[in-house]
């Protein structure tokens, strides 16, 4: 039986997604008697030499396309996979993985599940686990119809670097002529304003709706800067456009793994908490002792978060000056 990983090499951060798939394969398919290969799409010829290092399996099909558009990728998959008997397609986390998994399963008359955290192979089927009920519940599904197409949940596995690709088997396709039915008249790529990688951040300070105003959010961001901390926001703050979306922490933003996270003025909705739950120490500052975040923190202060953060910044700065 064969499984295939599908990777979008047109995106800048494909390495992180390849390492994520590498980890998932090692965890859930390492002992299975399966043959794995990868289909890696790319657009720029200059990216081609580095693609070998992005392959989490022993063989790869490198498929050159005009750029990422789901219609083009699905047409390209049809070209490369038409006669293939693949029983499992693995797609990485993110927007692209989720949309391709569902649509490809439909076209192959298979079954799909997105944002999968865990997987178990069963005779003739596949069991997969994902979150539901606004991330309050872990739901287990049985996928009944092959091919199974799943996309991973963001942050569900720790990335594992890819090594030992010396004997990689490579097949090349040039499908750069596909145009996706001319549905898109023109495309402009807008790269994300790069947030720093929060995975290993020492201190992350996150501001929420409890801060009430854009000005308070701005001040909290300044305090974070003064303390050398990374700064993030919750969903209501992002939707008010008080800070750019790339600072969003939670299921639809960044899944952070800092050593310390200070949640200031945050109620603690489960979809947000998923973004900080891997922190070693969670500190909640909130006026409401009943707020969900208070129970879910290691340490809590029940008080006005701006007043506490202002004092904390002064103490931190004073201590730094003393030590200097």
């Amino acid at each position: 039986m064969k499984f295939k990983c599908i990777l979008n090499g047109c995106a800048p951060n494909v390495k992180a997604r390849a390492e994520e798939l590498n980890s998932f394969i090692g965890t859930y398919l390492g002992n299975a008697a399966l043959t794995g290969s990868t289909i890696l799409f790319y657009a720029n010829q200059e990216d081609r030499p580095a693609l070998h290092d992005l392959v989490p399996t022993k063989s790869v099909e490198l498929v050159r396309v005009g750029g990422y558009q789901p219609e083009i990728i699905l047409d390209a998959l049809k070209c490369t996979e038409d006669k293939e008997d693949t029983f499992l397609y693995l797609f990485p986390s993110g927007v692209v993985g989720a949309e391709l998994a569902v649509r490809w399963a439909f076209r192959k008359n298979g079954s799909s599940l997105v944002h999968v955290e865990q997987m178990t192979l069963e005779k003739g089927g596949l069991m997969a686990v994902k979150k539901a009920y606004a991330d309050h519940v872990r739901a287990t599904f049985r996928l009944d119809r092959q091919p199974f197409c799943i996309s991973l949940a963001k942050g569900s596995v720790e990335r594992v670097p890819i090594t030992g690709r010396e004997n990689l088997q490579i097949i090349e396709h040039d499908l750069s002529g596909l145009n996706g039915d001319g549905f898109v008249r023109d495309t402009q790529w807008i790269p994300a304003e790069q947030a720093r990688d929060l995975t290993g951040a020492k201190l992350l300070i996150v501001g929420g709706r409890g801060l009430e105003t854009r000005e308070n959010i701005r001040q909290l961001k300044e305090m974070a800067g003064a303390m050398g901390a990374e700064f993030g926001i919750s969903r209501p703050v992002a939707l008010n456009a008080w800070e750019p979306m790339h600072r969003l922490i939670g299921v639809s933003g960044t899944i952070a793994r800092p050593e310390i996270c200070i949640a200031a003025g945050i109620s603690g909705a489960a979809a947000f908490y998923a973004g900080i739950e891997k922190s070693k120490l969670i500190i909640a500052i909130n006026t409401d002792p009943q707020a969900r975040i208070v129970k879910a923190a290691d340490v809590a202060i029940i008080d006005d978060c701006m007043a506490v953060m202002d004092e904390l910044t002064k103490i931190f700065m004073f201590d730094c000056t003393e030590q200097a």
Binding site: A11, N13, E99, V114, V137, D298
Partner: protein, 267 residues
């Protein structure tokens, strides 16, 4: 241009207490006693449709807005609000069963509804409901219709009668694309898209229009290819130590000395 917005009202589960989280024999959690709200992405989709209509009017183009939900009577207040916001039609399809984890059934009903009635140029969805979190209905609807699909849109601007410019999230950034209709668009995290409130005058003038209700029996349902097997409640509890003190300064000092400083000074 004719736009259909598909949405779902979902219980606000953040209002549930810890003891309310109980899985019953049918693998459901009773949320009947909490308020139904629009799912966040669905709310954004409805407001973006209104903004698209406003912008089209400025360009001299007419946009007809229509709303559809596959949901119980709990969705009626939202449909009435949409009528008051001048949606031309507000339709509810009464589900015969709980479709929380059956996106294929929902997509099938929506696509059949679209084929049976005058097809719109654009179908807008939220990317996923807050409760089911299936994130599949817009994609499956596009596939069933054989239409093209743009996901996680954050901005839609009218171009002409047959095109619109859609900014949407992709991996590591956004793409801004001019696309032709018909198409399905799912809306993602879009800033400044809280649903506007109708005026009292519009509520009185338009909000009392009857809501069309169709029955699920009018549609053929496909076989689901994924089956829910188990639900496990997640408890996020770390037993927080509460720092007491007479003032914010006193509390901040304890926080720094006892918790932050030892960790921050570690290499």
């Amino acid at each position: 241009m004719k736009i259909l917005v598909c949405f779902k009202a979902a219980p606000n589960v953040e209002m549930l207490l810890d003891e309310d989280w109980v899985v019953d024999k049918k693998l459901l959690i009773d949320t009947s006693f909490v308020r139904n709200d629009l799912s966040a992405h669905d709310e954004s989709a409805l407001e973006m449709a209104l903004q698209l209509s406003d912008a089209s009017r400025d360009l001299g183009m007419h946009v007809e807005l229509n709303a559809l939900t596959v949901d119980g009577p709990g969705a009626t207040p939202i449909l009435k609000t949409l009528s008051a916001l001048r949606f031309a039609t507000a339709v509810r399809i009464e589900p015969g069963a709980d479709f929380l984890f059956q996106p294929t059934a929902v997509a099938s009903i929506i696509s059949q509804y679209i084929r049976l009635h005058a097809p719109p140029d654009v179908v807008l969805f939220g990317s996923q409901s807050d409760i089911g979190e299936n994130a599949k209905t817009p994609l499956l609807t596009a596939e069933m219709l054989g239409w093209l699909c743009i996901t996680r849109a954050t901005r839609i601007v009218p171009t002409d009668e047959e095109h619109m410019t859609v900014t949407h999230q992709v991996d590591d950034g956004h793409a801004r694309e001019t696309v032709r209709v018909p198409c399905v668009i799912s809306v993602g995290d879009a800033p400044c898209t809280y649903l506007r409130k109708p005026t009292l005058r519009d509520r009185l003038s338009y909000g009392k229009k009857p809501i069309a209700v169709l029955a699920e029996e009018d549609f053929q349902l496909p076989e689901e290819t994924e089956t829910l097997m188990d639900l496990e409640i997640l408890r996020h509890e770390r037993d927080a130590a509460i720092i007491a003190g007479e003032s914010p300064a006193a509390k901040a000092k304890v926080l720094y000395e006892d918790y932050l400083k030892p960790l921050l000074s570690r290499p």
